[in-house]
C-alpha cells in the first residue's frame, strides 16, 4: 500500500485549514477512487438512459452496465443475481425487511432480537414493527469492552424468536460480532437473521452462503461507491414469499384495475427508475477493492489499528472505548473529561476529520454511561504518518483543553 493507492483518491490531496487533510471518518462515509468517479462520469457522458425499457442503443447499454453491477455484487458476496436488490442503503434494507417480511410474518407475542450496540437504523424499524404487531423487542446485553454476551443471547432465544437483527461490525466501537455463531443459534429456533453489513463490507470478505444469513444489508457509500445506493441480499425463497415494498413501475408484470401481477425477483422490490449510476458505481467500487484484494486491505487495516491504538494511548489521559478482542479499524476514545466536540473542533482546525457524538447509537452510549465519543476510523488509503500527525494534534488539543 500506499502512494499508488492514494493517487487514486483525488479528494485526499487537499489542505484543510492550512494543513494536509487527514480523513479519519471512514466509518461515516468512504472516499471514492477514480475508478468510481470515472464510472459515474462515463454514465452521464456516454450512455445516460432509462433501463429495462426502450430498444435503443443507450437504453441497452445502461441496462447492461447496471445488470453487470448486480452480477458483480452477487459474485462479491457469493449470492445469485435474483437475490440482489438495489436499495438506497442499509437503512432502506432494514426497513424493507421489517416492512415486507415483518408485516407478513410477525404476530402478536413474537419476539425480535437486536443487540445493545446497534445503530438506530437497526433498532427503530424493529420497534415500529413491534408496536404495530404487538411483538416484543429483546436486547442482547454487551460487556464493558463492547462485546455481545453470547450466553445471554442464547438465553433470549426461544420458539417466540422470529427475527434476529445484528450488525456484523459495530459502527461506534468497531467490535466484530461472531455472526456465524449468532446465525446458527437463531436458525436452531427457526428465526431468520438480518445482518447489517454496513461496516463489514469495506473491511472484509462477506460470504452469505458461508454465513448462512437470511438477509444482509449494506451501503454503497461506505464501500467506496456513490451515495444513495445500497444492497439488500435475501435468500431467494424468503424474497419470493415477501410482499413488494413499494408499488410502481418496474416492479410489475402487468397492471389492470382488476388486479396487478408483480415482477420476478429482483425487480419485485425495485419500483421506479432506480439509482442507475449509483448501482454502476457500486460495481466499479467492488471491482476496485477486489483488484487490491480484501485480504490485503484487512491485513493493512489491522496494522493501522494496532499502530493507531498504540499511538493514541500515548496521549495522556486518553482511554479507548471498545476494546473487543476482534475489532475492525475503528478507534473510539475519550480524553479525561474533555467533551468530544471540543476535541473534534480542535482536530478539524488542524486538518483532521474525525466523528464526534453518539454515532447514532444512543442506547449503546446509555449503556456505557457516556454522551458520546471521538471516533477515528481508518481505510486502506490512510497511513501511519497520518496517525502520528493525529496523535500530535490530539496532544496539542488536549493541552489547550486541560
Amino acid at each position: 500500500m500506499n502512494d499508488s493507492i492514494r493517487s487514486q483518491f483525488p479528494i485526499l490531496h487537499q489542505h484543510v485549514n492550512g494543513k494536509p487533510l487527514i480523513y479519519f471518518d471512514n466509518a461515516a462515509t468512504s472516499q471514492k477512487p477514480l475508478a468510481v468517479i470515472n464510472a459515474i462520469e462515463d454514465y452521464y457522458k456516454q450512455y445516460n438512459s432509462n433501463i429495462h425499457r426502450g430498444a435503443h442503443h443507450l437504453a441497452q447499454m445502461a441496462t447492461e452496465k447496471y445488470e453487470d453491477a448486480r452480477k458483480t455484487v452477487a459474485q462479491h458476496i457469493n449470492a445469485s443475481e435474483r437475490e440482489i436488490n438495489f436499495v438506497r442503503g442499509t437503512t432502506e434494507a432494514v426497513n424493507l425487511v421489517a416492512t415486507s417480511y415483518g408485516r407478513k410474518f410477525i404476530k402478536a407475542g413474537d419476539e425480535i432480537i437486536v443487540s445493545e450496540m446497534e445503530h438506530h437504523s437497526n433498532i427503530v424499524p424493529w420497534q415500529m414493527l413491534c408496536e404495530e404487531k404487538g411483538a416484543t423487542l429483546r436486547v442482547i446485553p454487551i460487556t464493558d469492552s463492547g462485546e455481545i454476551i453470547f450466553e445471554e443471547y442464547l438465553k433470549l432465544l426461544s420458539e417466540k424468536t422470529k427475527i434476529v437483527s445484528i450488525a456484523y461490525i459495530s459502527n461506534a466501537l468497531g467490535s466484530i460480532h461472531p455472526v456465524k455463531e449468532i446465525i446458527r443459534a437463531a436458525h436452531e429456533v427457526g428465526a431468520v437473521v438480518f445482518i447489517d453489513g454496513a461496516q463489514a463490507l469495506p473491511h472484509k470478505k462477506v460470504d452469505v452462503k458461508d454465513l448462512d444469513c437470511d438477509f444482509l444489508g449494506f451501503s454503497g457509500h461506505k464501500v467506496f461507491a456513490g451515495t444513495g445506493i445500497g444492497i439488500l441480499y435475501g435468500k431467494e425463497e424468503l424474497l419470493e414469499k415477501m410482499n413488494p415494498y413499494m408499488g410502481g413501475g418496474e416492479m410489475i408484470k402487468s397492471v389492470s384495475f382488476a388486479g396487478t401481477t408483480y415482477n420476478d425477483l429482483p425487480y419485485k422490490f425495485e419500483a421506479g427508475t432506480p439509482h442507475i449510476e449509483g448501482g454502476i458505481s457500486l460495481g466499479a467500487a467492488l471491482n476496485y477493492i477486489n483488484e487490491i484484494g480484501l485480504e490485503n486491505i484487512s491485513a493493512y487495516e489491522d496494522e493501522l489499528l494496532a499502530y493507531g491504538t498504540e499511538k493514541f494511548l500515548e496521549v495522556e489521559g486518553l482511554r479507548i472505548v471498545g476494546t473487543a478482542k476482534n475489532k475492525a479499524s475503528v478507534i473510539s476514545f475519550l480524553v479525561n473529561d474533555i467533551h468530544p466536540y471540543d476535541l473534534g473542533v480542535l482536530l478539524n482546525e488542524q486538518g483532521i476529520a474525525i466523528r464526534t457524538g453518539h454515532h447514532c447509537c444512543q442506547p449503546l452510549m446509555d449503556r456505557l454511561k457516556m454522551e458520546g465519543t471521538c471516533r477515528a476510523s481508518f481505510a486502506f488509503y490512510n497511513t501511519k504518518e497520518e496517525i502520528d500527525a493525529t496523535a500530535n494534534a490530539l496532544k496539542r488539543a488536549v493541552k489547550i483543553l486541560s
Binding site: 467533551h339 466536540y341 480542535l346 478539524n348 496539542r396 489547550i400
Partner: protein, 138 residues
Amino acid sequence: MQKSVGDIENEIVEEFELFDDQMDKYEYIIDIGKKLPALDAKYMTDDFLVKGCQSKVWLHAYEKDGQLFFEADSNTAITKGIIALLVRVLSGQSAKEIISSPLSFIDKINLRAHLSSQRSNGLSSMIVKMKAYASAFS
C-alpha cells in the same frame, strides 16, 4: 459607567488581532470560557437550554435598574468561550441596545467561518435567545 456594545466589540477584535494561528484563537476563547462565573445549578435545566445548539448551552437573564444581565454555562469548552464572549458584550446593556446591536465582532474575529455549520447555527441560536430575552424585558 457601562461601556457601549461597540466599545466592547472593538476591544475583543483588538485582542483577537494578536493571534495569527487559529489554534491560539481557540485557546483564547477557551480561556475566556473558563473565566465565566459559574451559573447557579437551578438554571442548568431544560427550561434554560438554548435550542438548536449541538452542545448544551444554558442561559439565564435578569433585569436590574433598566439593564439586562446574562449568566450562562455550557458542557463544552469552546461553546462556553463563545457564550462568554456574547455575555461580555451584551450583559449589562439596555434591552434596546441588545436588540439593535448587529454584533459585527463575530465576523471580524472570523469566528463563524471556523465553526462548523451546526455550531454556527448554535451561535445564531444563542444570539436569537439573548435578543428574545431583551425583547421580553423591553
